[in-house]
């Protein structure tokens, strides 16, 4: 590589092709030139920024409360935004085309520039003249006393080693001169290309996700089983947003065995702001057998390429377990038993009590037991009491004191029941089930991106040349030059240390 080529590569600012050159080029060449230009790439990036901003500012149809937003727009705005596809801009054809063109630009620009960058690795510039060295970002010259040229070169090589430049190379020049060259982190020149590979891998992951991902919901209450998920379909027409559902069968069956909600304040509501965690205990059954798992917040469960997440919950208060106080009519000491959701317990005299249902805000409507709200305003348990002699009858246990003579508070099977306490839980948990073949590719691309960005920005390719020329009198004239592709401050530090190591002079301290 000549000094001129080196300078061109160092500046790396792409030059505009000459007019005559442009006129003579074929259309394909011109298109390829455009597609591989960094300037074009920056323009594409800014276009992507603009479209993404539109997607931020115009509410997308999948976002919660889109119907409110849509209703607030004028018909003309709806028509305009709808025609342009702005309510679903990230899936509109021109957005995907833009991503494709940008990917192409990354590939072509990388191909175009890679040979130049690889030349730094393959054929480093080890020779340099005094004039060229003085054009470098950092340079200096001084006189050095030494017995011989070789002695001066050895001293410089030792100084190189002392500042971390282990492998130096000596190039002879006419007139008994020599250049000592060394460099660090040469591979850094290729870092940008590795970043581009990482980005393309991420794009590929995104493409695979977009094409093949399934993500559906699975509401589960204890005892429920499901072998399919339902995916939400968003259809936007003149009437507004229409939500549809499509089902996707799973290659296994999921049964919920228990749900649990860890609350901060046990006497508080089951809302998200009073919750530490939601746990769903599931059993997965397929041809390989039964597998148990617990899915909780930020802790998904993976099975056969499917991931199970906590997505939401049905905000109607239920009891995971009740503590029932049974007071014998005989006036004997009350007995307290714990009954799990849909479970039963047996009293010491053999009376068996089943928990039929739990209502957080007990009320009767048309003779049916139901709840007035989802909150724990008037919690009550409906029980089935089986006496040892085989009789069975329904009974109620309320948390609050009932007025004397209230029909729902009467004794059943020789006991009056009271809800001593209960463990709060939601009616059901909604799991999100995802199958995404693009996620792994995305993760690989992301890891690569982190690695390559660190390579690019936290290291730099530093090059040092020291030209030793015999002086007419005694000693040698030394011209030092150094260049770097980024982080000039670090280069200046090493340059100062190198010069100090050669000359024995102290470093000029900046602060």
């Amino acid at each position: 590589m000549s000094a001129l080529e080196e300078t061109k590569a160092e500046i790396r600012v792409e030059a505009a092709p000459a007019k005559s050159e442009r006129a003579g080029a074929s259309v394909i060449t011109r298109v390829l030139n455009l597609l591989s230009s960094v300037r074009f790439g920056v323009t594409m990036l800014m276009l992507l920024v603009a479209l993404s901003m539109i997607g931020m500012l115009v509410m997308q149809k999948q976002v919660d409360k889109f119907d409110l937003y849509f209703a607030g727009l004028t018909p003309a705005t709806r028509l305009l935004f709808g025609t342009l596809g702005w309510f679903d801009i990230y899936n509109v054809w021109y957005f995907n085309l833009l991503l494709l063109v940008l990917s192409l630009n990354i590939v072509l620009a990388s191909i175009d520039r890679f040979p130049g960058a690889f030349a730094y690795v393959r054929k480093p510039k080890a020779n340099a003249g005094r004039t060229w060295l003085k054009t470098q970002e950092v340079h200096d010259s001084f006189n050095l006393a030494a017995d011989s040229r070789d002695g001066a070169v050895r001293r410089i090589e030792e100084a190189y080693k002392a500042v971390g430049l282990k492998h130096s190379r000596v190039t002879e020049r006419p007139g008994g001169a020599a250049v000592v060259f060394a460099q660090r982190n040469t591979w850094n020149r290729l870092g940008a290309y590795a970043v581009h590979v990482a980005l393309l891998t991420i794009f590929l992951g995104g493409f695979l996700t977009n094409m093949f991902e399934h993500n559906g919901q699975m509401p589960l209450a204890p005892g429920d089983s499901a072998a399919q998920i339902s995916e939400t379909v968003f259809n936007l027409d003149d009437r507004g947003l229409q939500l549809g559902r499509s089902s996707l069968p799973l290659p296994f069956e999921v049964t919920c065995t228990d749900i649990q909600q860890k609350l901060i304040r046990l006497d508080g509501p089951i809302t998200a702001d009073n919750t530490i965690d939601w746990l769903t205990h599931i059993k997965i059954k397929d041809e390989t057998g039964e597998h148990t798992a617990v899915v909780h917040m930020n802790n998904p469960h993976d099975y056969r390429g499917y991931r199970f997440f906590q997505a939401s919950f049905i905000n109607v208060g239920r009891a995971r377990q009740i503590n029932l106080r049974a007071s014998p009519e005989s006036g004997a000491q009350p007995v307290e038993v714990a009954i799990p959701r849909d479970g039963s317990a047996t009293l010491p005299d053999g009376t068996r009590i089943e928990l039929l249902s739990f209502q957080p805000d007990f009320t009767m409507q048309g003779g049916q037991i139901t709840t007035a709200s989802g909150e724990y305003n008037n919690p009550a348990a409906q029980l089935l009491v089986r006496t040892p002699d085989g009789k069975q009858e329904r009974a109620f246990a309320f948390a609050q004191e009932l007025p004397t003579g209230a029909p729902v508070g009467r004794a059943v099977g020789g006991y009056k029941f009271r809800l001593a306490s209960f463990e709060k839980v939601a009616d059901a948990h909604v799991l999100s089930v995802q199958k995404d073949p693009g996620a792994t590719v995305f993760y690989v691309g992301s890891a690569l991106l982190c690695l390559t960005l660190s390579m690019v920005f936290f290291f730099s390719h530093q090059r040092f040349w020291t030209l030793v020329e015999p002086r007419d009198g005694a000693g040698f004239e030394v011209t030092m030059g150094a260049s770097v592709n980024r982080n000039q401050v670090a280069l200046e530090d090493r340059f100062k240390r190198l010069k100090s190591a050669i000359t024995g002079e102290p470093i000029e301290v900046e602060s």
């Binding site: 920024v49 901003m53 931020m56 609350l263 996620a439 920005f457 240390r497």
Partner: protein, 545 residues
């Protein structure tokens, strides 16, 4: 150098000297960190009852940053070793208080929930892990951390003598972030369960550092533009456009202040933080803001004449108007802060007023519709309600709960912060036009500024990439998808792309120099939009922060 050197017996690199240089240079950044951790240990040992709280420490941090900025600015105009030293120590103190505030908030959040859990019968083995309480739970926490990232970056960069000027611009912006935090309010919240993940400290911690570095990059870009000859009058045009945009968009309705001449602030229920779309007129603030807007419109016109036609008289008059606009904006802020804090208010006599703290009856219909929507009515159902009934609903609401309505600086933090930021922008535009040549001479070379801009943009780019990746991994663990075009993630993506544009502009034809600096400025504005605008203006899964 002509002196001939003697050959030393053995060559050694002066590592020790270099090491000593490094340590000494970074002491101002290291001492606050050590001090803040020591103070936190003391807080853990002493308990919270009689210890300074995180809010007070935050205010001390604000004072430290402002003092640091004032002295560093003075040092640019009248170079003095003493001013620089005081400036750096002020900045260091600010950073110390900022970090202390954040760390002590962590301890306080832990103590608070621990007490609740113990009261509810949780045993020691059921206590959540300590990372659950790391102060990255809401916008207040993020603002503390953002300012902290900016403070740390400033202190690290100030290790170089030639870059010590940077605090003159980065510290006032960090102070603005803390002012915003003050308006947001630092009440503790119960952590939403989705945030209880080890990815939160990684993801939000990366955000705070990346945002802080981006802030310093912005400061370097502005000073670079000044250095390479951008006229302060051009900057004043942009700052005036920004200020007019702020005045035109606040007050609950676009153009309201300019059209009606008065400013009305949001209200909250006593004991609540939820901002209501029911506004109360703050006397005299509207006229002051209208005056500021008119003066700045004049500034734009006159400075444009100077920039494009070289009209020196227009420049002189533009400068006078800019001074007037600064005074009017300052007056509006003082009036706002003084009157919002307390006092009674009722309906405006005659429907509206410039001089009374009162609410306009014209908003009754809109507020009634908002209440109907909050009660779960669909837009079509709300539309079907007669206007008289909507007004009646609001009147009924006011008669029953009107006495619980309060004005508060916390009711609309973005609006108040925007007004303060507009004032700061006008202040700096004015400051840069004062002895501009002297200021330019005091700044390092354009190459050095460009190098600083490039290094900080590179770190911000890498930081935002890591932010996006860690966010994607966390989203895939929590929501079952790594990318969903949520407004916050799109905002961070857009800012990242713009930094990508900045890095590539340096090797693209026709984009080097000033255009490259514009990329850095726009990228930071997008970072701010992601940090604030997305949280307050756009719906999404990140609405907590």
């Amino acid at each position: 150098m002509s002196e001939v050197m003697d050959t030393p017996a053995r060559i050694t690199a002066p590592k020790l000297d270099a090491g000593a240089w490094s340590l000494r240079a970074y002491l101002p950044a290291l001492i606050p960190i050590v001090g803040a951790f020591a103070l936190t240990l003391w807080r853990i040992w002493a308990g919270g009852e009689n210890f300074i709280d995180d809010g007070a420490l935050m205010m001390l941090a604000l004072a430290g940053y402002l003092v640091g900025a004032a002295f560093l600015l003075t040092n640019l105009y009248a170079p003095s070793g003493m001013a620089q030293k005081i400036g750096l120590w002020g900045a260091g103190l600010g950073y110390f208080f900022n970090l202390s505030s954040w760390l002590i908030r962590w301890v306080a959040a832990h103590d608070r929930e621990l007490a609740i859990l113990q009261k509810n019968g949780y045993g020691p083995d059921q206590m959540p892990w300590v990372w659950r309480y790391i102060p990255f739970a809401n916008l207040y926490d993020l603002s503390l951390a953002f300012a902290m990232g900016a403070g740390l970056t400033t202190m690290l960069i100030s290790g170089r003598r030639s870059f010590r000027f940077i605090g003159a611009l980065s510290l006032p912006i960090a102070a603005l972030i803390l002012i915003l935090a003050r308006f947001i309010g630092g009440e503790f919240i119960n952590l939403p369960p989705v945030l209880d993940s080890y990815w939160r400290p990684i993801h939000v911690g990366t955000a705070s550092i990346a945002y802080g570095v981006a802030l310093v990059c912005f400061a370097a870009a502005v000073l670079y533009l000044l250095k390479v000859g951008t006229k302060p009058e051009s900057m004043a045009i942009w700052s005036s456009i920004f200020s007019i945009a702020v005045i035109a968009t606040i007050g609950g309705q676009i153009g309201r202040i300019v059209l009606t001449g008065n400013y009305a602030a949001s209200t909250v229920f006593e004991g609540s933080r939820m901002s209501l779309p029911f506004r109360v007129i703050i006397p005299y603030v509207g006229p002051a803001l209208v005056a500021a807007a008119l003066l700045m419109a004049g500034v734009i016109f006159l400075y444009a004449r100077y920039v494009f036609k070289g009209d020196a008289a227009a420049r002189a008059w533009g400068h006078r108007l800019l001074v007037g606009a600064l005074v009017a904006q300052g007056l509006a802020i003082v009036l706002m802060a003084a009157q919002i804090k307390g006092g009674e208010f009722g309906p405006c006599p005659g429907g509206s007023s410039f001089t009374n703290k009162c609410y306009e009856s014209a908003q009754y219909e809109g507020f009634g519709a908002w209440m109907a929507g909050e009660q779960g009515m669909s837009p079509d159902q709300v539309k079907a309600i007669p206007a008289s009934r909507l007004r009646g609903t609001t009147e009924e609401f006011l008669s029953q709960r009107g006495s619980s309505l309060r004005l508060s600086l916390n009711a609309n933090p973005v609006e108040f912060s925007a007004v303060v930021t507009a004032f700061a922008a006008t202040f700096f535009a004015l400051l840069f036009s004062f002895r501009t040549d002297k200021l330019r001479a005091a700044l390092p070379s354009a190459d050095k500024l460009d190098g600083l801009m490039y290094r900080t943009a590179s770190v911000a780019f890498a930081g935002l990439a890591i932010l996006l990746i860690t966010g994607a991994i966390w989203a895939n663990e929590s929501w079952g998808r790594y990318w969903g075009w949520d407004s916050k993630e799109t905002g961070a993506f857009v800012a990242w792309l713009t930094y990508g544009g900045f890095l590539h502009s340096r090797i693209a034809r026709g984009m080097t120099g000033k255009p490259s600096a514009y990329f850095a400025i726009v990228a930071f504005l997008l970072v701010i939009f992601t940090y604030l605008g997305v949280s307050y203006l756009l719906p999404g899964l990140h609405s907590y922060a």
